[in-house]
Amino acid sequence: MIGRRRIAIGWATLASLVLLWFALTTWTGIVSAGRFPAPADFWFSLVQITTRGYAGGELFTHALHSLILVIIGFLVAVTSGVPLGLWMGWSRRAEAAVNPVFLIIRPIPPLAWIPLAILWLGLGDAAKIMVIWFAAFVPSVINSFSGVRTIERPIIEAARMLGTPRWRFVIEILVPAAAPMIFTGLRLSLQAAWTTLVAAELVGALVGLGLVLNMAQQDIYPGMILVGMLAVGVLGFGTTWVLGRAERRALVWNMATRD
């Protein structure tokens, strides 16, 4: 019942926004088409990119390419960031050794890596994956680290008292107890990956949603800009939803992930 109500409220909000969009652009003309595209312009752009293509490909091609880049960058970031964060949280020595380098590298904006990434890896997808990796890596490390450090002391003491072997402690206590924070980190990482993708694709991309946005900007084509933006939004929503489902499956014991 609560789920249905939530869905209904979500659709009602969406419908209100679309109505407001129509009202401001098409019916009253308060917002001119040059400033923000009308729904008809958006629809025309959507049909164009879906059927005839734009910026060297159809919407599906651009979206799929961007999605693959984000997934690869995200997976590389997670598989490197989560273990590093867990290790830093688990071992004070590791934290002391890695933290100074991490603290220096962490504040560097992901986009500042673009020139070096292009220099090192060229204009292809590898450079974009590197930039996405960096953006998604930092939240993964920080949240995994915090997840370990917020494990209640009695749990650790009980494991120690019972003589739990190290590997068992990691698999059965450390990772499950830190999992809610790890998933929070994954959500932030995914969001960072999408945010960075568009900026990374603005430079030297042959296909992708970033290229669509860049080309639409050069063509002064607001309708297509909105299509690109919405495509990123929808894909971001979709990937977050999938991650949310995975979180609920992984953390069935956690009340916070339940409805």
Binding site: W90, S91, R92, R93, A97, V101, V148, R160
Partner: protein
């Protein structure tokens, strides 16, 4: 198990070791020629450039 907190001296020692390892690998990659100089300049060159930029303008301004 999660370790006990380190003493300040130990924290500094491990921190310096980590930083030293990072800079060491960077230097090794650059000086050995494994990565060409124009792609990865050595740390000392970066530091020298940093100090040079404090007084010599680049892209229309000095670093400060």
């Amino acid at each position: 198990m999660i370790d006990q907190p380190l003493k300040l001296r130990e924290t500094i020692a491990y921190g310096l070791t980590g930083l030293g390892l990072f800079i060491g690998i960077w230097t090794l990659l650059s000086v050995s020629g494994l990565v060409p100089y124009q792609f990865l300049p050595a740390p000392l060159d970066v530091i020298a450039r940093f100090f040079a930029l404090l007084t010599t303008p680049f892209a229309g301004a000095t670093l400060p």
